[in-house]
């Protein structure tokens, strides 16, 4: 037998390519080569991972549990058909636009206070909408590719359809309000939701991969995530969208 290649040694180290085993034992030169590789790869195990504090598990649970609680509310209330979310979008946007009309005739001070409250309500509603959208996109990005056959994504598709309607309302309101950044993000999100809503309800592994790639290429999940957390942070003290 010829001497094994470096690639064969590497596979052997990881428990594959066991056909070279006898040769490695019999050939002194190859045994030395393999041991040199072993030393290097064993040393990699010393790659330092920062230690966590003793109550790390509790801290992770505190953070995750809090976010789960919030998500559970969508699950039990508005997550399924999202009709409630759509009704909420109509209500919020309607109140916001009606308020703008009334504001023109109202005394300046009173109008300013009211404007702040309405924008805050809208801010929170957009934050909720973004979180719901993030959840459906995450579902798609992480869906396991079907080994054979097709994966049923009709649930995600229906959800995207419902979100699309709220998204349009929020985007138009943001544009009317001169909030270019929010309008731009919602426009981008709308394109992704459109692709999902108008795509097939059952996808092959290749189609799922393509869908995933498109979501990733646009970086929309991260944009939504950043925006959502900014909205959340500023909802408590900001009055501008």
């Amino acid at each position: 037998m010829n001497h094994p290649t470096e690639e064969q040694f590497i596979l052997y180290y990881y428990g594959e390519g066991t056909q070279i085993e006898d040769h490695v034992h019999a050939c002194e030169e190859c045994r030395a080569s393999y041991q040199a590789l072993q030393r290097v790869l064993n040393s990699v195990d010393s790659f330092p991972v920062p230690e966590r504090v003793p109550d790390y598990e509790n801290r992770v649970w505190a953070a995750v549990g809090k976010r789960m609680e919030k998500r559970s509310r969508w699950w039990s209330f508005g997550w399924r058909p999202l009709a409630a979310a759509m009704a909420m979008a109509l209500l919020v946007v309607g109140a916001f636009l009606a308020g703008r009309t009334w504001q023109k005739a109202a005394p300046r001070q009173l109008a300013a206070v009211d404007n702040g409250i309405r924008e805050r309500v809208l801010l929170v509603a957009v934050g909720d909408h973004l979180e719901r959208s993030e959840m459906v996109l995450v579902e798609l990005v992480n869906a396991g590719a079907p080994a054979a056959g097709r994966l049923d994504i009709s649930y995600e598709q229906k959800t995207a359809e419902d979100l699309l309607e709220s998204n349009r309302l929020y985007r138009q309101t943001a544009a009317t309000n001169g909030d270019v950044a929010t309008a731009a993000l919602l426009e981008e999100l709308e394109r992704v939701l459109l692709d999902v809503a108008h795509g097939p309800s059952e996808v092959s592994a290749r189609q799922l991969e393509e869908m995933r790639r498109q979501i990733e290429d646009r970086g929309i999940l991260f944009k939504v995530k950043i925006f959502g957390s900014r909205v959340e942070q500023s909802a408590g003290n900001s009055t501008t969208l």
Binding site: E6, Y14, V40, S43, V49, E51, Y56, V60, R71
Partner: protein, 194 residues
């Protein structure tokens, strides 16, 4: 552990959200280790930990007990780490924003001051070299290598996560090992002879 994981998973699926706490507590450190090895960044790794458990919770209905819960969870963690690194490469401004949003340390000061057992056993110089060489690998090489070396995933599993063929996956691992070897061999040999 697998049995108790299955029990906890069954309870969560039956609507007992609190049962998820046991799973989070049991796996959070190992998810952090995987995430840190993949991203090489503590803040990103913390983000991966939280996001992994949230995603797993949301997708629990899709989990089938064919693989252990841990394996399934680490798959989610490695996929999210990959998403994060890809996003960083493709959208540096967005990724910078994400880091800023993490606010430094998402869980407060979670790093312990105490040195880990590896740090005590191995020379600092070797560890530093391993760290710097891993950081110089391409994202694909590093991911393939970490999943094979530390997580023991098969070539097929790694290929499926990375969207690569079996051969391309093997070559990513080979390249990573060759680079590590070039960087570490002189150092490791000198340690071995002193």
């Amino acid at each position: 552990m697998e049995d108790s994981d299955s029990v906890a998973v069954a309870r969560v699926k039956a609507g007992d959200g609190d049962a998820y706490r046991a799973l989070v507590e049991r796996h959070s450190r190992s998810v952090f280790r995987l995430a840190y090895r993949m991203t090489g960044n503590e803040q990103d790794a913390e983000d991966v930990v939280q996001e992994t458990f949230l995603r797993a919770y949301r997708q629990l209905h899709r989990y089938e007990a064919r693989a252990s819960f841990g394996t399934w969870l680490y798959r989610i963690a490695s996929n999210y780490s990959l998403d994060l690194m890809r996003s960083r490469a493709r959208h540096p401004q967005v990724a910078a924003g994400l880091s800023a949003e993490s606010g430094g340390d998402a869980l407060g000061t979670v790093a312990s001051e105490a040195p880990g057992p590896d740090r005590l056993l191995f020379g600092d110089e070797v560890q530093r070299k391993v760290e710097s060489t891993l950081s110089e690998l391409s994202q694909q090489e590093r991911t393939a290598f970490v999943l094979r070396h530390f997580e023991g995933q098969s070539i097929e599993e790694i290929g499926s996560s990375l969207g690569l063929s079996g051969n391309a996956t093997k070559h990513s691992i080979f390249r990573a090992v060759q680079k590590l070897r070039r960087a570490l061999e002189p150092l490791v040999n000198s340690v071995g002879t002193t």
